[in-house]
Structures are given as structure tokens and as C-alpha cells.
């Protein structure tokens, strides 16, 4: 038993971190028209094979596991990466048609994420997407997507654009079962862990250089202790993320329970760490030019996807885990 990234896993995480910091650095969110995946970014990710990460070898994927999927999306989260990156990866896993699958994997066509919002569909991701993916715990549907049928809405999160649609879409491909949902839940939990980490790293770096009252702020307990609490929340969420990813990889019967716990803890850690990061930065923490608010806003979106707080807690209460 070993519950931390190891060997090849570490190399994949490092490769992902390096690539994403170049291809979609969080700095992009201070520019104009920055939301979602552009066609260029999509092709760039596709050419590196990142969309095939969770795809089995026989379907043209890399044959890697849920563990590598989690490691990749943690790095996506650190850059407040677009939600469509996840939709694109998941869509590749549910499509049977070889031609369609390879055009998704290569990034030739884009996939947005669709979520039922009570009256219709709420769509996250690029308006240039040709498809949208809606996932449930017992089935996944890929729909063809017509731009004219959706209506843009204001979005709190600069990393994610939102549209709504009340049209009944046309199904292009479907899959029953919870595999894609589980990968989606794991991916969002991983992105939230990445946000919790990036928020902690940002304030720790600042606390080592910024001085007040003649001392580095990192030497004041009013800063040290909230930072320690951030580290504890992060460590709990990250340890549970590794557990859930490994449980999925090994096909344990209780993987879904561990995923729910991982999602809940990641939601809490990302939101609380983003909050503390803004607070401990003082005035600069509320400025638009700073990254701190980007982590919070993106976490608010991700915390609602693939199991918000009430939903995952409702399932967790009576769930049983194995030894």
C-alpha cells in the first residue's frame, strides 16, 4: 500500500504541470476573451494526447488510470483551467464511433459540459464547441450542439462562460453506467485540490516577502495559524483524492463513497483556502489584477459540478466502506 504519487505518476504530473503552465497559464485570465478553450488550445492539448489520458489502450488511449487522470486535473486546477478540458476527456471515453472519438481526442471538435438546471440545460464551455456532454450517475449523453439554440448568460467566473438552453438536443452517443460520472467527479475534485494548493502556495510566498510593522507577515501568528489551517484542509482533501483515485483504479466496490468524500473535502478546501488567501493578502487581495479572486470564482463553479455539498453529503451518510 502506498498512497502518494510515485515513479511514472510523478513524471506525468510534472509533464502536465510544465505543459499547462505554458499552454494555459492562469495569467491568461487577466486578458480579454479569456474564458473556455480556444480552438488553438484544444488542438495543442489534443496533440499532446491529454484528452486520451483516461481512455483505454484498445480505444486509442494511453491506457493510464484514474490516478493519472487525477494528477493531470490537479494541475489543470492550479491554472484555473477551463471546464471544457474535462468535458473533452470524458466525451472521448463514452463515444463508440472511432472517427468521432479520434476527432475529440485530437481536439478537432470541441465538447462543452451541460448540466440540467431545473428548467433546461446550463452549458459550460466554449461556444465553438460542436458537442455537449451531460453526465449522470447512471448514464452519459453526448449531444450535437447548435449555437443558435442557446443564450449567453453573465458568468461570475472569468475561466468559464455560461449559456442556457431549453431546447431538447439530439443525442449523438450515450453510455449507461457511472464510469464517466466517476471520472468527472474525480476530475473536478482534483481541480479543486489544485486550487486549494495554488491558494496556499500564493499566500505562503507572499508571507515570506511582505513586511508589516517591521516584520515579515509570515512571522505573525495571525497569518501563520490560518496558513497552517489551510495546509491541514489541503492535506486532508489531497489524501482523500489519492484514496478515491486509487480505489477507482483498483475497481474497489466502495470507490463511489470515497469519490463523494473526496469531492466534499475538495469543495470545502478550495473554497476555504481561496477565501483565506484573499483575506491574508489584505487590500491587494481584492484587486482584479491579483489571482486570488480567480481561484475563488472558479472554485464556486467546480464545487457545484459533479456533486455539490448537499448532494454528496446526502449520499455519504449511510454509505458503507470496505476495509
Amino acid at each position: 500500500m502506498y498512497l502518494a504519487p510515485d515513479g511514472d505518476e510523478l513524471e506525468i504530473a510534472q509533464a502536465a504541470a510544465g505543459f499547462l503552465a505554458e499552454a494555459m497559464s492562469i495569467e491568461r485570465l487577466h486578458g480579454a476573451a479569456c474564458a473556455d478553450m480556444s480552438a488553438d488550445l484544444r488542438h495543442s492539448l489534443g496533440s499532446m494526447g491529454w484528452f486520451a489520458l483516461a481512455l483505454p489502450g484498445h480505444a486509442g488511449g494511453s491506457g493510464l488510470s484514474a490516478v493519472e487522470h487525477a494528477l493531470f486535473f490537479r494541475e489543470v486546477g492550479r491554472q484555473c483551467g477551463p471546464v471544457d478540458v474535462l468535458a473533452q476527456c470524458l466525451a472521448a471515453t463514452i463515444v463508440d464511433d472511432n472517427a468521432l472519438r479520434s476527432s475529440i481526442v485530437s481536439g478537432d471538435v470541441g465538447v462543452a459540459l451541460a448540466v440540467g438546471d431545473g428548467t433546461g440545460l446550463r452549458i459550460f464551455g466554449s461556444e465553438n464547441a460542436a458537442f455537449m456532454l451531460q453526465l449522470g450517475r447512471d448514464r452519459s449523453d453526448l449531444y450535437t450542439f447548435k449555437n443558435s439554440a442557446s443564450e449567453p448568460r453573465a458568468s461570475l467566473d472569468p475561466a468559464t462562460s455560461i449559456r442556457v438552453s431549453d431546447r431538447v438536443p439530439t443525442v449523438a452517443s450515450s453510455e449507461t453506467g457511472d464510469r464517466a460520472w466517476n471520472l468527472g467527479q474525480l476530475g473536478t475534485a482534483a481541480m479543486l485540490v489544485g486550487i486549494a494548493e495554488a491558494s496556499l502556495d500564493q499566500i505562503v510566498d507572499y508571507a515570506k516577502v511582505r513586511e508589516t510593522f517591521g516584520k515579515k507577515i509570515g512571522s505573525w501568528q495571525a497569518v501563520r495559524h490560518p496558513c497552517a489551517d489551510m495546509a491541514v484542509r489541503l492535506e486532508a482533501a489531497r489524501a482523500q483524492l489519492w484514496f478515491a483515485a486509487t480505489a477507482m483504479k483498483e475497481g474497489r466496490g466502495d470507490a463511489g463513497v470515497h469519490l463523494d468524500a473526496a469531492k466534499y473535502l475538495a469543495n470545502q478546501a478550495a473554497l476555504a483556502n481561496a477565501d483565506t488567501n484573499i483575506q491574508l493578502h489584505g487590500g491587494i487581495g481584492v484587486t482584479d489584477e491579483h489571482h486570488a479572486h480567480l481561484y475563488l470564482k472558479h472554485a464556486l463553479v467546480l464545487a457545484r459540478l459533479f456533486g455539490g455539498r448537499r448532494e454528496v453529503l446526502g449520499r455519504l451518510l449511510h454509505a458503507e466502506v470496505e476495509d
Binding site: 501563520r224 482523500q240 454528496v312 451518510l317
Partner: protein
Amino acid sequence: MDLQYSASDRDFRQQARAWLAANVPTKRRPANGHTSAQYDRDWQRKLYEHGWAGVAWPKEYGGLGLTGLQQVIWYEEMARARAPHYINTTYVALMHAGPTLIMRGTEEQKAFHLPRILSGDALWCQGFSEPNAGSDLASLKARGTIDGDDIVVSGAKMWTTDAQHADYQELLVRTDPESHRHKGLTWIICDMKSPGIDIKPIRTMLNDEHINMVFYDDVRIPKSNVVGEIDGGWASALATLSLERGLGFIGDQLELYERVGRATDMAGKLRLEDGTLAIDDSSIRQKLAALKADALAIRAMTLADIAETDRTGQPGPKGSMMKLLVTSAHKALSELVGDMMGWDFLEFDGDRSAHPWTYDYLWSWVFSISGGTNEIQRENIADRVLHLPRAR
């Protein structure tokens, strides 16, 4: 990453589960006094006679020589079987003193003390803290003066758990009067029956007398009882403390999951003051589920830390993080059960067995202060994990 238990791990779990199911005492532990210490000795004796003593100890010293992962399994099975709580009067002997002697004691010290600890014949207490030095152990003042073959100890120790039941004490004194901070301290085995020792119990908010102030009036201790070097006690003390902050609370970490389960079962039966079933209250449901997630995370952290320690042979700096999380989750769980129990929660006479949830609520402050306060744990994390500028 992997979560696989080996065949021997699985066998070990089955053996532990079967033995505990057949042997866990049905009689409640007495609330206080020497009868409770005797209960602990009897349980330890039973573990010893059936080959279950010293789960963390190497085989060559009479322990089970278990890997970290098997220790996790043992504590999980103890919690499942509702075995007597491992934090009792045998705790310091088994979790601190024995392992410290194994690391730093002489062959004579090991040969004499280790079997007595394993069999429950010798109970130990810790003599580190002092009236003016809580978590700041480097400011200790109790003095040990070298006099021929003896060290003569004078001064006072504070917060000494179970001193009144203990046969021996891990005693930290200042042997070099000119020394400052962590230099000039010596770690000695003190026989608690030595003349000149006076124990004054301190009644706690738990309505018990498990902690004490201990006074030393020219207590003569042979130099052969020094563990490590004279004036070099800090290294031995750090060894003791790393045990406490590492796996010292492993049982509590793993027990949390069982306790959340018990609280959930209880919520399915208890009626709130307005007549609704506690489990039908959405706020109670959500808090229980959130604590269950915390308990799972604590287990994942423990497994990750243990795997790392088994692999590198070195405990990581995560003990402080786990202790913070466990102590706050324990307190939150007690508060939640208190909400569910209503007036009954306020009935308490100090008997842990009769009023477990109220006892654990009050205990949650002891838990978050002993072994380094939560504030000290945060300082450790700020220094050792985040490498922030030093506060002191």
C-alpha cells in the same frame, strides 16, 4: 499509488478480529482510582499472554514487530470491537517509555523494563511539563545535581497523567544549572516509590483526578537510570515527542470513523425535543456526513503517512496536521451528539463508561492541549511544513 493489502495483512486482520471478538472484556472499566488502573493492567496482561502486546514494538524486544500498516489494522479492529481504550494508564509505558528505551536505553535498562511494560506489571508516567513550562519544554527548571553515583532531583512537574498509579516516570531535568534552553537537560528513569516524591492530584473539568502535580525534594536517582547522555536529554525527549506526534494518536484517528457510525445509529433512534427523529433533521444529517468525510480523510492521511514511514524509515512532519484535524473533528462530533441528546447530555458524574459522549466532549479540550496545544501544532506546521519565517 496502490491500496492493496498483502495476504499476510489480510490474515493479520482476520486473526485480530477473531481474537478481539472473543476476548474484549464485557465488564465496564471502573470510572476512577486504583481499580481503573488494575483494569488496565489486567487487559494488558491478557494481551501479553495471548501474544498481542506491543503492536509497535520490534520482535526482538517482545513486541509483535508489526509494519505500520498492520498497526493501522490493529487499531481499526480495536475500534470495531470496542476494545478498552488504548489511551489509559498503560499508554505512556507502551507508547512513549518503551519505544524511547528501545531507541536510546542501555541493555540493562531494556532487559529490566521492557518485559515489565509489555506484561502490564509496570505503569509509567511522563515528567516533562512544569508549572511554568507547558509546551515550551526548553525552559524546564527542575534541577538534577550530580552527587557521586546519584542524581539528586528537586523541583516540580505539572500535568503528570496517572502519576498516582505509575511505577516509573520518564523524567526530564536540568543537570547543568548554567545551561540555556534545550542544552543541559537529562532524561532519567525515576522510580515513583523513591523517597522525596510527593504527588498532588489536580481535579480537572472532567471531574476526575487523572492529572497531577509532582514535587521532588532531594530525590536520589542512580546515574545508571540516565537514558542517553547526561546533559544530552533533549535528543531523547525529541525521540519521545516524535512518537507522540507521529503515531501516538493513531487509534483516535481510526476510531473516529466508528464513532461517527455510532452517532449516526443513535440519530436514527433519538427523538429531539420537538419530537422529530434526530436523523430527520437536515442539519444533523449534513454534519454527520461531513464528519464521516473527515474521518475518511483522516484514515487516508494516516495510511499515506504510514506507507511513507514504512518506506523511508522516517516519520514525516504530518503528525501535527493529523492531530489538529482529529482533535477538531472529535470536538465537533461531541457537540453534534450533544445537540441530539438534549438535556441528557448534561447528566455527568465523571464516569466515562456511563456517559461516554459527555466525557468525550470534555476530553476534547484535553486532547487538543496535551502532547502540544493545537496552537503549538500550528506553529510546527508553519515552521516545518510551510517554512514560513520563524515567529520565535
